[in-house]
Amino acid sequence: MILLPQVRGVVRHRQVLDTLVRRDLRVRYARSAIGYLWTIIDPLAMALIYFVVFSYIFKRGSVGYQPYVLFITIGVLAWQWFSSSVNETSRSLLAEARLVRSTNLPRPLWVVRVVIAKGIEFVLSLPVLAAFALVFILRGETTIHYRIVLVPVAIIMQALLLVGLGLLLAPITVIFSDMPRIVRILLRMGFYATPIIYGAHAAPPVLQKVLLLNPMAGILEMYRGGFFPQELNIPSIVSAGIITVITLISGTIVFKRLEPAVLKEI
């Protein structure tokens, strides 16, 4: 089992991981006094734009569940974690080349650290989401379903998926310089290929099958389960779990294979 020694290496250096994550957050928030607000304003502004465009211009609020604002906000926040994390993990070895070169730490650490730092930003944005939900609950437009316990499961699954993708992309980016551009385009397409501004149920049946291959579809299903009483898309969640495991294993293998070449390049 290739995962085990890698996991052990990272766990043994959890204190270093802690230091690095703290540094990331400190650097981010030291630069501007309202650093925290910026990480929230950006996705909320996007959510607002989609809400206005789809509810008032296209008048197609029915593509998601009601209340649509809450539906979009969950999707956009989780996607923000996904896309910022993929973007940064793919460049993580290059961006920290000096540190990677001068320390003999398990190299997957540089990927895991980005995922955790971005994940903490995501978790810190959850209170805003809770406030949104509270407003809608008080207005009687939604209720809290016991399935809200799936949220932590979704967070863990998304973190593992992101680590897997990062392990896959980070070494490729070092060797293949065009990778960041490709990643950017794929992420933009991924935004629409993921049920963020629409629900999987609103897609035509053929596309619903395609969406099963998108692990973020299942993960969003779990985030939303607690707020929207509609039936859970179980196949989508199972498929997300399987794809996450496959990504993690193949990421670990690719990373291990390319590691010697990467160290020569950076």
Partner: protein, 247 residues
């Protein structure tokens, strides 16, 4: 007693050009990667063992593979052939300020870099004064300033103080003594002698015969990636001199 460093048949192959030039445009339009494929072995068949407390000087011209060997011992390069085993931690004085960030203050950097090398906060608290003392009063008064405003000498002094305080059994030194003023160099020498007296294993790369003779008692001579000499430092230096000044 088991050797501290054990290298067996070490070899590493590099591309002459950077492979990163692999580009999508070329692959799509020409169907292949046209970047030159020729490679060279920066090190080949290098085997040796080093015992605890030995001080080894690496001798050889530019491009001989000295720094590459040091990096493999430090674990920041992975060999393509053979293996190198190091018992115990390594304090690499290689890219000294590699772990330092210009946005953070000197103090934050000490905690960060020492953390990266495996110290926890209590251990750093204990050693903090020692590190800063070594770096000198100029650095001490600037510990709360951003690292960006340090002079290059101050940066190196702080980093040297930090790495040598890590207390690892193996110390790797790559040409760092070239920077810094005379008084700082003297303090570096003193500290290296203390480390040697304390039973540390030292690996030194230098082009200065004086430095090599002063610290090393054994020499390894690397010539275009091959280990061509291994013996007492004076003999190895004579061999090196004889070969470079030859007819």
């Amino acid at each position: 007693m088991q050797p501290v460093i054990e290298a067996k048949g070490l070899g590493i192959e590099f591309y002459r050009s950077r492979r990163r030039q692999l580009s999508l445009r070329e692959i799509v339009f020409k169907g292949r990667n046209t970047a030159p494929r020729d490679t060279f072995w920066a090190l080949k068949d290098v085997s040796f063992t080093v015992n605890k407390g030995e001080a080894v000087g690496l001798v050889g011209g530019n491009g001989g593979g000295k720094s590459t060997l040091l990096k493999m011992i430090a674990g920041t390069l992975i060999p393509d052939e053979g293996s190198v085993k190091v018992r115990g931690g390594v304090a690499p004085l290689i890219e000294l300020t590699g772990g330092f960030l210009s946005e953070l203050s000197g103090r934050d950097n000490v905690y960060l870099a020492a953390g990266l090398h495996g110290l926890n906060n209590e251990q750093i608290d204990e050693r903090y004064d020692e590190i800063v003392d070594f770096a000198g009063p100029q650095v001490r008064s600037a510990m709360d300033q951003s690292f960006r405003h340090y002079s290059s000498g101050m940066k190196v002094r702080l980093a040297f103080g930090l790495i040598t305080t890590l207390d690892q059994p193996v110390v790797l030194v790559d040409e760092v003594l070239a920077v810094g003023d005379r008084s700082f160099r003297e303090r570096c020498y003193e500290r290296m002698e203390n480390m040697l007296a304390g039973g540390k294993t030292l690996f030194l790369v230098s082009h200065s015969e004086g430095d090599l003779k002063r610290f090393a008692d054994r020499g390894l001579y690397l010539k275009s990636g091959r280990l061509v000499g291994d013996g007492p430092i004076t003999e190895v230096l004579d061999q090196y001199r004889a070969e470079t000044e030859g007819p």
